[in-house]
Amino acid sequence: MDSTPLHMRPERSFQGLILTLQRYWADHGCVILQPYDMEVGAGTFHPATTLRALGPKHWNAAYVQPSRRPKDGRYGENPNRLQHYYQFQVILKPSPSDIQDLYLKSLAAIGVDAALHDIRFVEDDWESPTLGAWGLGWECWCDGMEVSQFTYFQQVAGVECAPVAGELTYGLERLAMYVQGVENVYDLNFNGREGSDKVTYGDVFLQAEQEYSRHNFEHADTAMLFEQFKMAEGACRKYLDAGWEGGKKERHLMALPAYDQCIKASHVFNLLDARGVISVTERQSYILRVRELAKACGEAWIKTEAGGV
């Protein structure tokens, strides 16, 4: 740590925090991926997690994933809530027996001293109705604050995980606020510089939060979105059907492009939900529709090479 220049230290720099985590997990054998180039609600949606969690092959990866939760927008006025934020995602398959220790050491790497802080694993059963996924694990607390989610995937996209993958998700902004000792997310020091060189999280994202809040709650074109949902749903099905080699359900050749459409449908649904144009009853049926897509993609994935065929 001492050799780390000041502006790269996790307790001073948001990007320093990210880079430290990347380096740490790279040192522990993870493939460091870049964010998936689509709008997703959480790092779990990245095919490197959702799909790679399935099948028998070993897989260790870590990446930052910008995550969009249209409903959580607060026009930049709430110090803790964002409609766009970063998750740091680690997926280890099969889950190593020392995964808790690995996680705790990663906290130490970003400056959370376990002798000084109260770190706790508090029950949190994870379930994603849209992904047809569930797992058991914890919220990881540091001094009463949830800084990560820790899940042993049991089922994803309707398919049993064999072997089970361990998933770690760090809420980066929250963690950075904690280690930087900042009360408002927009005050985070992004680049670790001081004075006129300093760039804050607000400098980077405040305008975006304001604009997207307007968009998500007031202006998102619902007619277009309804149409997009249908189109994505249709395209997903079409690609899935077309992907079965020789029309037999033995080998699939287009699981990833089909899954992209599932991601698309899910995000469009989130936008529609934020606009308040989906009733409670409809809501359930939309979630089910996305889940059906996710399940079909999972079924296809395990018939691909990376899925274990």
Partner: protein, 754 residues
């Protein structure tokens, strides 16, 4: 006698599962041991976030030898029978069997089978892996490399190590040899995750518990609870505050730490403008911290108490600061929600807000929350005059009382429902009794909860519960055994307490049952229609096609339109009546339970319920009370004895003659003076007791009853019932029947035990 020590060391076990898991472990192991003939002196189990532990002491070192006698064929039986016997008994030849003499039936062979008991440690080594593999966790999981294989071990979270030792106090114990999914039982464990992570070896329970304590683990959850409670109280007291105790939170928190360290933090005083219930809910459910009162004001103070799992190197400063930061953020959110709610409550019209309820399902078969609110409103308006409540205020309260379910705060913290409705209603200038009714309509929630006494509150609280009961009865979702997912027993008990504590006259059946059950009358019919369309099955399955669901909703709409409801109402009425009868007997059962818990004799309760048409809870209770007092007097006891004697004689003679002795006795057939006196007394008592009962003066009715006693006693003393003259006999039996009839004015005496 040897002892067993078992520890199952895992990753963090959810707090809410620990107590039951410890219990299950103890029960499963001891049951299995006893079944194997291994009885023990004592067993105790413990749970911490990372381990389940069990100690069983006073086990025998070996199973007892089993001796069994197997009866064989007669001496000289065919060879096939002999061979079969030898095989079954495991004997080589008949030389190993003995012959038992039987002079009557003939001598026969007997095999003495002796099964030597096995060493207890071997039995234990067999038992425990099975228990681990079949352990009833509410939710279990697979993990790691082995999870790829079918039949992989499941545990609540990954299981890491097992301690299992068996041996005498004075000797080095043996490790019980077994392994589960590659985890070998041994005698190594670990202490606190951060303060003492090194492995160490344990021998038996005494050194296990002590070494754990040295390694910063308090094994016994009760001890952790005691530490937390005592330290929290002291810490609050030292600062001039008073801990608000919270058993549920205490239980949870003690399951989150192995080494409790109690610390106090504070938050900005300006947050105290948020209602106290919200502050408490925020701090409790999100942060699992306690709040404290300022004894001077009786209100919440701007402090909280947290329980950490570590003795931090800075004495806890960083931990407190961290928790304060989170609580500040949480309270900012809560404040924002509260203020947003207040604004929405003021700006949007009530009707506009309530419209949202149309889209909120209360229960799949009972329709939307909107319909429910409307139903409760009508029912509450019906109840209002019966409990002295202003009808308009009641209607207003009923309309408003669920509205807070749509607010941000209640969305975030469901436990503040009702209270928030009151705050918002008051802020908007609603009538205070309307506002109070919003909070109180959920009450009483349990046997120790407050019972509302404002008439408006009573009316809506009753309506809310009765609607729920009637609705679930109509769709036949009644509580069974220990299953009561909609808390219907609690609802019925709530009605009973509301009625009794407020001395309400509320005949359940006659007064407003029709209004309560009416809206549901179409329900069974509706279910039938749905069933015929095969839609319920489709809905019940997870995979429901949107089209089928739409069809179902349409069907519901159709059958509940006013016209069709009327059309099927005639058919539904008998069904509704049956439902009501059933619901009332449910009330009767709950009342019995309630009265019994208060110490009333259950036979007296039965004696009153045995009378026809008892649907007025208050009158039932009054009768039971008066009856109890009366039976404590000599008059009461003797009258009871006399009445029973009359009943017994009647029962015998009715059986003999195969008919009852109803009807008035013929005065001209009276012979003895005692007969005439008894007849007079009965007439008098009937009249007086009847008048008193009509005036609901049960004490007076009992006093009147007492007058019957000397006449009854004299009659039995002097008069022979079974006279030789059959007419006189029949007339006397009729007179006895009259005694029974007279006492039925207050209770069915035959149900009363001596």
């Amino acid at each position: 006698m040897p002892d067993l020590l078992l520890e199952l060391f895992s990753e963090e076990i959810p707090a809410r599962m620990q107590a039951k898991a410890a219990d299950d472990l103890r029960k499963m192991v001891t049951d299995k041991l006893v079944a194997e003939g291994l009885v023990y002196d004592g067993a105790k189990s413990f749970a911490t976030p990372r381990r389940l532990a069990l100690t069983i002491h006073g086990l025998p070192a070996r199973q007892p030898d089993l001796k069994d006698e197997r009866k064989g064929p007669k001496v000289g039986a065919p060879d096939a029978a002999v061979q079969g016997f030898l095989k079954a008994a495991g004997l080589k030849s008949l030389d190993e069997a003995t012959i038992q003499k039987d002079p009557k039936k003939g001598d026969f062979y007997v095999a003495l089978i002796e099964k030597a008991g096995r060493p207890a440690i071997d039995v234990i080594a067999e038992i425990i892996p099975v228990i681990i593999r079949t352990f009833p966790w509410p939710k279990a999981m697979r993990w790691g490399e082995l999870s790829a294989k079918p039949g992989a071990l499941q545990w609540v979270r990954p299981l890491h190590s097992i301690v299992a030792t068996f041996g005498m106090e004075t000797e080095e114990p043996d490790v019980v040899t077994f392994d589960v999914a590659g985890i070998k039982a041994g005698q190594m464990t670990r202490g606190h995750r951060f303060m003492a992570p090194a492995e160490f070896s344990v021998r038996r329970f005494e050194d296990y518990e002590a070494k754990l304590f040295d390694a910063k683990v308090v094994l016994d959850p009760q001890r952790r609870r005691d530490i937390i409670l005592a330290d929290a109280k002291e810490l609050a007291f030292a600062q001039g505050f008073e801990l608000i105790e919270d058993q549920g939170l205490l239980d949870e928190v003690s399951g989150l730490v192995e080494w409790p360290v109690v610390l106090m933090g504070s938050f900005d005083e300006s947050f105290l403008s948020i209602p106290g219930e919200v502050i408490r809910a925020t701090i409790r459910s999100n942060q699992k911290c306690f709040v404290v009162n300022d004894p001077k004001t009786g209100k919440l103070a701007n402090r909280f108490i947290l329980v950490a799992n570590i003795e931090a190197s800075d004495g806890g400063k960083a931990i407190v600061a961290g928790n304060e930061r989170v609580i500040r953020a949480r309270l900012s959110d809560a404040k924002f929600f509260y203020e947003t709610d207040l604004k929405n409550w003021k700006e949007n019209s009530l009707d506009e807000r309530l419209k949202k309820f149309e889209g909120v399902t209360f229960h799949r078969e009972l329709g939307s929350q909107g319909r429910r609110v409307a139903r409760i409103g009508r029912l509450a308006a019906e109840i209002a005059p019966l409990v002295g409540a202003d009808v308009e205020k009641t209607k207003r309260a009923a309309k408003l009382m669920k509205a807070d379910l749509l607010t941000e705060i209640v969305g975030e913290f469901p436990e503040v429902q009702g209270v928030m409705g009151k705050h918002y209603a008051l802020a908007q200038g609603e009538d205070p009794s309307v506002a109070q009714a919003i909070e109180d309509h959920y009450k009483p929630q349990g046997p120790n909860d407050r019972v509302p006494n404002d008439p408006v509150s009573i009316a809506v609280a009753l309506a809310d519960k009765i609607d729920t009961l009637a609705g679930f009865w109509a769709i036949d979702e009644k509580p069974t055994g220990s299953k009561d997912p909609y808390a219907l027993r609690r609802a019925a008990l709530g009605v009973i307490r509301l009625v009794l504590d407020n001395n309400l006259r509320l005949p359940l059946y006659s007064k407003f049952s029709a209004v309560a059950i009416g809206p549901f009358l179409a329900m069974p019919k509706m279910r039938e229609v749905a069933r015929q369309m095969n839609l319920l099955e489709i809905i019940a399955k997870e995979e429901i096609s949107p089209k089928a669901k739409m069809a179902f909703i349409e069907a519901l709409k159709e059958t509940t339109s006013t016209a069709s409801v009327n059309a099927i109402a005639d058919e539904a009425v008998p069904v509704g009546r049956k439902i009501l009868d059933d619901l009332l007997s449910f009330f009767a059962d709950r009342l019995k339970v309630q009265l019994r818990e208060q110490g009333a004799r259950h036979d007296l309760v039965d004696a009153v319920f045995a009378l026809e048409g008892q649907d007025d809870l208050l009158m039932i209770v009054r009768r039971v009370e008066a009856l109890g007092k009366f039976l404590d007097t000599d008059d009461g006891k003797n009258l009871l004895a006399g009445t029973k004697r009359a009943s017994n004689i009647l029962a015998i003679e009715e059986k003999k003659d195969k008919h009852t002795f109803d009807g008035a006795p013929d005065a001209s057939l009276f012979v003895a003076d005692e007969e005439k006196q008894l007849a007079r007394a009965i007439d008098e008592v009937k009249r007086e007791a009847g008048d008193a009962v009509a005036k609901e003066n049960f004490e007076a009715a009992m006093t009147a009853m007492a007058k019957l006693r000397p006449a009854v006693d004299a009659f039995f003393d002097k008069v022979k019932v079974n006279d030789d003259d059959s007419k006189v006999r029949e007339n006397r039996l009729k007179l006895l029947n009259e005694i029974r009839a007279a006492t039925r004015a207050v209770a069915d005496f035959s149900r009363i035990q001596d």
